[in-house]
Symmetry: C2
Subunit: 297 residues, 2 copies
């Protein structure tokens, strides 16, 4: 019997959505504007891929979703903050995201900046509380530190910096990998990894999951680039071809579409091979890897 | 013999400045631009009040500076990130800070936003590492969580939100206290408090230090408002009267200068009274309280 990914994603997404609603301050609590702005972006329709990966990482080493739910939410808050700031006029200047107006188009630039800052701050609060409840002392600090590393200048922020600086320039394949590994793969890798770390995965298990997460993250970004060329507004929730208009460096622009598609498939194969030592409990991650490759948005 | 505050601040500041230089990524490490932007703002001349308060909080319960140095740096990084984002065109739109061009005037808006994001991220990494080295398991999570609370929407970000929303409006004395308590006092209180928490201060000690920190933080902001009315560019590193030009709600605008000065003095007296149970080890905090009241910049 094949794994029912849709049922898996639906149940995990429901858990995550309920938890996000619980951890975000209510819209009616002062200061209301920033809480509205935070909820607007985080609770927008989304795949919840990163939080589901945190859960799948924990499940792959034999724990259940409840034990990592706060950290799963934290990863989604960090993802949401990065989108809000990336969309700002001074950055990518996007009007639409996930099919809705971007945060600053609704709440203004000042509130969008502050909402992003607040989401990043709240994320670390959630990680600390979750880690303390679930893990040994050394693990609390390790998980906070690893998420900070994945989100900082050697991770997500660093990728965004080089991405912005590379706009309109010819860049090498190495530089494009540098951007992709940091801007997207670092947080996806961290999601899987801290899920396993938090619940006491062995060093060998955590290492296997980390390597799988890195390949998965890189594949995710390449597929994103492919969809930007091929997709429609309805599928992506943003205008197709927006990377090209902004003269963003992309995998298809540098390597062509056929090579990009082949590379994405290879990376997903790598992901699944790296998960072999984990056996059946890693089945959800394998199915999620196929989903990352085949998704249309 | 009276306490030599100048010698105290000079030695602690030297420790903090050396530690900041150590924890910030080198300017030559990629991505270099954002690292330059981070260092530009953090290493600008400053009083290092918050990190010195972290140290003084630890010393007040009998520990030494070295044990809390990373967290001391973290509080300075959070302060620096908040200044970078507050100065952005979409926020307070300031060209000068601490007598130098603001971050976005030198590095551009995109890099200033990202440098702020990176500093906040790095701050939590430092707190986690420091807490893990210094403290019991439950304390790691507590310190990360308390700093996140002080920096989030019920703390610094929340104060900034209401401050921005109140520009040009008549606000009540209660609302002004709401802004001041969150925008400034929350992080100053947290600085003292986590210093004591990290090194194992007793609940009574931590409570006394927290209450002292709250009064000190409120006094700090009232004195800031007074200096904005009375100070010069040379003393403040920014234009005097800038609050008035921006139609910012300030304590002198609402209560007049004489009442503001009396209130600041009362709060400093409160601060010192709350520190009485701590005895001589709290002498540096008492001297710092006098300094906060009497400073000219």
């Amino acid at each position: 019997m094949s794994f029912d990914l849709k049922a898996y994603m639906d149940t995990r997404k429901a858990l995550v959505d309920a938890a996000l609603d619980r951890v975000l301050p209510p819209e009616t609590t002062a200061p209301t504007t920033v809480h509205q702005a935070m909820r607007y972006s985080v609770l927008a329709p989304g795949k919840r891929l990163r939080p589901i990966l945190v859960i799948a990482g924990a499940e792959a080493v034999g724990a259940c979703a409840d034990t990592v739910l706060d950290t799963a939410c934290a990863l989604e808050l960090i993802h949401a903050y990065s989108l809000i700031h990336d969309d700002l006029p001074a950055m990518d200047d996007d009007d639409y995201r996930r099919g809705r107006l971007t945060n600053h188009k609704v709440f203004g630039e000042a509130m969008a900046i502050l909402a992003g800052d607040a989401l990043l701050t709240l994320a670390f609060r959630l990680v600390a509380a979750n880690a303390a409840a679930a893990a040994e002392p050394a693990v609390v600090a390790r998980v906070v530190g690893e998420i900070a590393d994945a989100a900082g200048t050697d991770g997500m922020v660093g990728g965004q910096v080089v991405d912005i600086e590379s706009e309109g320039k010819a860049i090498s394949a190495e530089m494009l990998d540098y951007i992709h590994l940091r801007k997207t793969a670092a947080l996806i890798r961290a999601s899987l990894r801290v899920g396993a770390l938090l619940v006491g995965g062995s060093p060998a298990q955590v290492e296997a999951i980390s390597r799988a997460g890195q390949s998965l993250g890189l594949a995710f970004q390449i597929v994103d680039d492919i969809l930007d060329v091929e997709g429609s507004l309805a599928e992506l929730g943003k205008s197709a071809g927006s990377d090209e208009r902004k003269q963003k460096a992309t995998y298809p622009a540098l390597h062509g579409l056929p090579t990009s598609k082949r590379r994405a498939r290879e990376l997903i194969d790598d992901t699944k091979r790296m998960l072999e030592p984990l056996g059946p409990p890693a089945e959800p991650i394998r199915a999620l890897a196929d989903y990352v490759l085949e998704r249309r948005s």
